[in-house]
Symmetry: C2
Subunit: 443 residues, 2 copies
């Protein structure tokens, strides 16, 4: 009997992080880190977990969008192979009516990503491999079959992608061994949230260096004088050998970005992240061309077409993929291939809840099978909320250690799911007075 997907359960999970100003930045002053979380179950007892990340309100809209994808999933043969996963991805992103709600952007696209990533968790778990190894064990042809090349072929054709993957094939085993032994470089954003005091900033920056990180990141984009003071304090705390990245979280227009970056120059920031609107390809290009700080962006880039243009326009020095904003593994593979084609390093966005857990797999796969390099590459690390995951990231000596457990490291602990369910989990019921019967949203 064919194994089919029989279960599709959606959870609205929220953490009251705004109470500590963890994660506060100039655009997002009060985030409650949240996940619209989906669990697939198969007739043979298999499970796959996936989620999109949000910052609180509207997480119920994401949950509704995931729910809208149920008919494409339940009853389908359990996805196990590259072909299965490609087919599912196409079904979710090319639904002839749902596509109108993006197309390929925002709520509906992130929902597709959550379900696709859950299917990857299911398939890799079934194969007994962490997702990075599951991916790195696929042939170049299989990998190319996972990519939706629509609207990409002026920059990257399937043949070019195949050639890139074949060129990287001989060194795969050696790099995988190196990864298992030495991990992958991380940088930390934990010192730099806008809501933190100067003292906390300096203490955490020093601690980051002591912990082995070679790069930290500060949030900027609110008060200009505060930004410069915080950067000066951080530079004094960590010395000249540590990279300090800045993140403006989209706060500036192009002219202001150019003015503000000039003020930071004496303190030699490493990159400026999201200096302006994530949709503004030409704006990023103008910022990059108009001053000397390197430009990084991508956590809010809606899809592969936006990344394609950021590369075509020479708008970025670093491509920041996010595991949960685009349509899952397949679309991120497209972006990794585009970055490789244009020779731009990928430095993933992480943090939030579970984003570190997911994206480490993609960066490690990139190292093993696509770019073949860790040079000038780092994965963001934020030390929040990992305790809620069954297979949390391990970051020691400033490096992510390669996951060994099967799957996508995506699974939250059952007790964490139960306690943080909005609005009736114990964490929220205590805050909002919500109570009443536990409502199941799923089958």
């Amino acid at each position: 009997m064919t194994e089919t997907v029989t279960g599709f359960t959606v959870h609205d999970i929220r953490f009251p992080t705004s109470e500590q100003l963890d994660g506060s930045d100039a655009m997002n002053p009060d985030p409650d880190y949240s996940a619209a979380y989906v669990v697939l179950r198969t007739s043979a007892g298999g499970e796959g977990h996936g989620f999109c990340f949000t910052i609180g309100r509207g997480n119920e809209v994401m949950a509704a969008a995931i729910e809208a994808l149920r008919p494409h999933v339940v009853g389908r043969p359990a996805p196990r192979t590259a072909a299965d996963l490609a087919e599912l991805s196409t079904a979710l992103t090319h639904d002839s009516q749902l596509r109108w709600l993006g197309p390929e952007k925002g709520v509906m696209h992130m929902a597709a990503g959550a379900v696709i990533n859950a299917a990857w968790d299911l398939a890799a778990t079934g194969a007994g491999l962490p997702v990075w190894e599951f991916l790195a064990g696929m042939t170049p042809e299989e990998l190319v079959s996972l990519v939706d090349f629509r609207h990409l072929t002026d920059a990257l054709t399937p043949d070019e992608a195949l050639a890139l993957l074949r060129a990287a094939e001989p060194g795969r085993a050696e790099r995988a061994a190196r990864l298992r032994a030495g991990g992958y470089p991380a940088y930390t954003t934990s010192p730099g949230w806008l809501g933190y005091s100067d003292t906390k900033l300096v203490t955490l920056a020093r601690q980051a260096v002591a912990d082995g990180f070679r790069q930290i990141k500060l949030k900027v984009g609110a008060d200009p004088d505060d930004d410069v003071r915080r950067l000066r304090l951080a530079r004094a705390a960590v010395g000249d050998d540590i990279r300090i990245a800045l993140d403006a979280n989209q706060r500036w227009d192009v002219p202001e970005a150019l003015r503000r970056l000039a003020d930071f120059a004496p303190y030699a920031p490493h990159w400026i992240e999201e200096p302006t609107s994530p949709d503004d390809i030409l704006g990023h290009a103008a910022v990059r061309a108009g001053q000397s700080v390197r430009v990084a962006t991508g956590e809010h880039a809606a899809n592969r077409v936006v990344f394609k243009q950021l590369l075509q326009a020479e708008a970025v020095d670093y491509v920041q993929i996010d595991a949960a904003r685009v349509a899952g593994v397949g679309e991120n593979l497209a972006i990794l291939l585009l970055a490789a084609k244009f020779g731009v390093p990928v430095c993933p966005h992480a943090g939030g809840v579970g984003l570190c857990e997911l994206v480490q797999h993609l960066a490690m796969f990139d190292y093993v099978a696509v770019s073949g390099s860790q040079e000038d590459r780092v994965i963001e690390y934020v030390d929040h909320l990992h305790e809620h995951f069954a297979d949390p990231v391990v970051v020691t000596g400033g490096r992510y250690r390669a996951p060994t457990a099967p799957g996508f490291s995506a699974r939250m602990l059952p007790a964490s799911l139960a306690a943080h369910r909005y609005p009736d989990g114990s964490v929220w019921a205590a805050r909002t007075g919500a109570s009443g019967p536990r409502k199941e949203n799923g089958s």
Copy 2:
């Protein structure tokens, strides 16, 4: 006592249009034209109606997104002035947590647009004016205050916008009079849906010319030979003096667009609409630069930042605003001002359900108070579903006639709302077997 918003009711309204292949194109073969519809009510008995347009599945996700905006609206003083409307617009698009779900794109952004447009319907109705006149009666300063200039100032500053509006001020009364007398040119897409037979295409194309239209539009992007044959038949049917626009609905990559457009050249198409991804600014620019057919796009452009770049990159010959994709009147005003700054004509997208009703107001306001011209400008017209509206568009002699009833022409008839409510309205209950008590989603 201050008049406040007390009611906020959301309806999931769908029309089974896929049964006739009305609206069928290469990307959207089977649309069920739908509206996620919101009604605001005030303590003084005022009403405002607004909606986003979708093509069926997922309309419930849009409804959930509108619902997420309720706390920003209910309890607020009833919006009556430019200042009130600007403040509401900011509250809806800058919610510090909901913004993450876009930002400013897709489901959450369209939901904001529906609520903002409902507020405009409320305010204009209260003022006893159709929206186009209500807008055209505002001072340049008031109009500028309605625009969110964030991420625009590298292309358009508030001072530049003010100068454009002041320059157009002297002719307002004369143009409004001309509009009331002569209307605004329309073109029709009714002949050109992909699902129609050649015979139906030719009959409807001839009928369009007989009805006074000087431009028709055909859908392309499916089978190449079919596209050329349909264009040839249409050209033969309408003669050389009628413009024939083509609409590829995003089906092509850049190289294919260039190849396909060469095949159409003998039949002199007027413009090619959405030749590729709506996110692909550089792709549109490459298509425009690489062949001779004019390029039009915008119905799926996510926000003002995308339009800004389409203009900066000289990617379009025509800007196609959509009344219900971006964040309502204020963001469309930003786009009209950008187009005026760059000297590119605005030819609105319409069709669907209610899009003609809404967007005519924006085009007429553009004529009276922004661009000051009808030259080389047309509003799309599709003859579907107008019978469900209380103040339907009037198109005679190939021209939209200026609405005179107060408001945004946005209100569906109560009987149409009741019959088309999904899944329990009579139209759907008969098809799906859904039944049971009428569920109210609102207050």
